[in-house]
Symmetry: C2
Subunit: 217 residues, 2 copies
């Protein structure tokens, strides 16, 4: 980012055409579980992370830590954790709901060419604790904001992202050799999606419907 001051760039204005396209972007961002197996172009993930890291963070703490998971044994450990959690989740449902759950595809761990584990560094001194004295969870939320921006930046480029949470966070952290002061926030699959959609997969599969807004006014 450039320093503001004399000669700094003029603030941007976003016109109606951009605003309409931005809304389209939000409507067509999906949690993707069906990926093509071909690799993303060299350097694209870094470009997307540069945009993710423009996210707001409490006290400017920038607590996001990204691990790129490429080793087959590490990917296998993540898949094993998913399999355990998914079986346990299925066992919690009954009847029609269990049948529906069993039919869902909930992760692209086998196919996604890029996989990122995203952590929050609870040991960071960056930010000097500002803004998280009474709401310490703000540090984790800062990482979620960065992931949300990554998601949108990916969709701009036609790249799909899926957030896998059916995992044992500590087991995944240990399998990836991350420090114990890092909290797993997300495990992300990225790649070219098999299809583009403006309706969430869980809606198409009959798991859940959209509901009206519950605003307090």
């Amino acid at each position: 980012m450039s320093e503001a001051g004399p000669g700094a760039e003029a603030p941007p204005r976003f016109d109606e055409a951009f605003a309409a396209q931005f809304k389209t972007l939000l409507a067509w961002r999906r949690d993707v579980r069906r990926f093509r197996r071909d690799a993303l172009p060299e350097g694209l993930v870094e470009t997307l992370l540069d945009q993710a890291e423009l996210a707001p963070s409490v006290g400017y703490s920038q607590p996001w830590r990204w691990l790129r998971v490429t080793a087959p044994e590490q990917r296998a450990a993540v898949q094993a954790s998913f399999a355990r959690c998914n079986a346990a989740a299925l066992a919690d449902y009954e009847g029609e709901r269990a049948r529906l759950y069993a039919g869902l595809k909930l992760a692209g761990l086998q196919e996604a060419p890029e996989q990122l584990a995203v952590f929050c560094d609870h040991g960071t001194q960056q930010g000097h604790g500002l803004g998280r004295r009474t709401m310490p969870e703000m540090l984790d939320y800062s990482v979620v904001a960065a992931i949300t921006q990554l998601w949108l930046a990916a969709r701009v480029q036609g790249v799909g992202l899926g957030w896998v949470s059916i995992l044992e966070p500590d087991a995944v952290r240990e399998a990836l050799g991350a420090p114990s002061s890092w909290k797993l926030i997300a495990y992300l699959c990225l790649g070219w999606p098999q299809e583009a959609q403006d309706v969430p997969e869980l809606v198409r599969a009959g798991w859940e419907r959209s509901r009206g807004s519950l605003r307090g006014w």
Copy 2:
């Protein structure tokens, strides 16, 4: 959103001009604390919330709940909580750091014409628990994703947003009369910003510097 199927719209493609503007949007989104006092146009907040609610949510749970805070006595209660927390935070710093902290403007609670309290409904059945058995915090993270989208959608329209976390979450929830099953995720100030900036206020004030990415590869 439209149903996909025969006759559905073609998936959008985002061109390089849009991608460049999107990156500019991320670079010029700020945590705003200096607002003009004039009201936002009628209906604009609702339009922004419609875009926020396109956010990803675990199991399509859509757990975000928005309260628009307009009553003077409610705003006063929030300001009082901020004043208590801010004084306690200042007392935790020493020397130069305390001097710096005392000089920061950390909220626009007195001036911002629109103020929203954002909660996560921990009692919701929506989503049938999918994806949050081992990571229950996913429900809160879904609300943070919606807030991040709200922030960007606001900036597209030139509207500034500031996230206030120097608050007692339970005291604020009670002052606003929200159910005890709702967790306060954020208190947001919205309005026209006094200035546009591409450098965070905490950097300009000398509180914290940007740091290089800490990527694990």
